[in-house]
Amino acid sequence: MLQYDLVVVGGGPAGMAAALQAKEEGVAKIVILERAESLGGILEQCIHTGFGLHYFGEELSGPEYAGRFIREVQQTDIDVMCDTMVLDISDANVVTAVNKTQGLMQIRATAVVLAMGCRERPRGALSIAGTRPSGIMTAGTAQKYVNIDGYMPGKKVVILGSGDIGLIMARRMTLEGAEVKVVCELMPYSSGLQRNIVQCLEDFNIPLRLSCTVVETHGKERLEGVTIADVDERLQPIPGTEQYIPCDTLMLSVGLIPENELSKGVGVPLDNVTKGPVVDEYRETLHPGIFACGNVLQVHDLVDYVTEESKIAGKGAANYIFGKKKGGAYAATKGVNGVRYIVPQRVNVRGGEKVKLYFRVGQVYRNAKVTVTCNGQTLLSRKRPKLAPGEMENVTLTEEQLAAMNEGDEIVVGIEE
């Protein structure tokens, strides 16, 4: 059986940053297992710019951002196995993987970092009436067709869902000569970044219809059109508002789900809201020695935050490997009044370090306050001009604030209007 100090599952930006950080902390034997033919993850197909502004201070495309980490990995003695799919992780941290050259292999790992990313919610998760012709795909699949395979999936496009991938693809298809008729969003707000609404839709006069959905698809072999309708506050289609739109392509950009089959297999408890593992401030799951970071932990819209989070996980894994993990007392974090979730879900208050809490809100707020309380005492109250579900927020708790807490305390983050 192969033996590594650290096995990283997934070679996207999360896996690479975690491996590099662990290497910097002095971990000797590290391997990254990636099922695709090369490192880079989803960034390889994200050819638009907008990556790295926080981390590198410049605006890079996805492949350029990934490229910098790939080069760094190549300059270390971190082992990389591509075309290698991880099938299982056992209770004793034995990783089972398979590839064409080595076949089935087992690797005993002291620590494991889960960095499998996320996948798009497929059409099956939606309930649209009508036929099932070709021409219906997720926006990410369309992105791969256009940007990697160099093939245009259609000419007249309707996009359901205003997630960032959908917005980016609206611009991409328009630039390549397709006509994007409308982007329909079920909710009364877009889940995409404001900047993408401006530069992907408004720049090209593509209409964004909020509180609107696709109720039926038409066409036998190939999609011929869709029926859209407005929805009420309960998100139910309003009779009489139906409208037929001819199109040959329907792209779905209705959300991403962390890819946690492996995590479930090893019995790592997941958070009901994030759909990712429950973790502490070093992104260690409730299974000792198994860490998680990037989109497998929570869906990120900024790769810069993925890198930041993954370095924390890499450091945590190194501490674990060197037996330097601090014993402690754990407080739980809890979102109230509009705060949908918080990562990490638990914090070692004896860690002796400041801790950043990342969270998302459930609706748009203007001039609201973010407050953090513990045992009825207000620790923090910060004014924010704007809070939106599409944008991840954070607050930092100081070492002193944490040291004053005890095992079982609740750190409560909420929004006050």
Binding site: G67, I197, D203, K386
Partner: protein
Amino acid sequence: MKRNLVCIACPIGCPIEVELNDAGEVVGVTGNTCPRGEAYARTEVTHPVRSLTTSVKVEGGVHPVVPVKTAAPIPKEKMFDCMQVINAVTLQAPVAIGDVVVKDICGLGVDVVATNND
């Protein structure tokens, strides 16, 4: 006159208000959280620019296309002109990150460069 913009210079997306005088000159910018926002707002109300990212055909490489970008932002209204020029190009592998694919596209003084290897 006032114009309300959303800053697209970074993913935070600050709401910005630009105050213009009768001659169309910028007399005030508010709402930005950093200097990049002010620079964006000033350009946006006078001569808006965008970075263009797309792909170019490659022969003999691993993939049939390689991604490219304009090395600097170009005037917004020139995007489709540039697309026409780029779509007429076919590269020969190997292509490396940073290779110039089209020099001085449409006479704009900006090169189109590869953003991945192939």
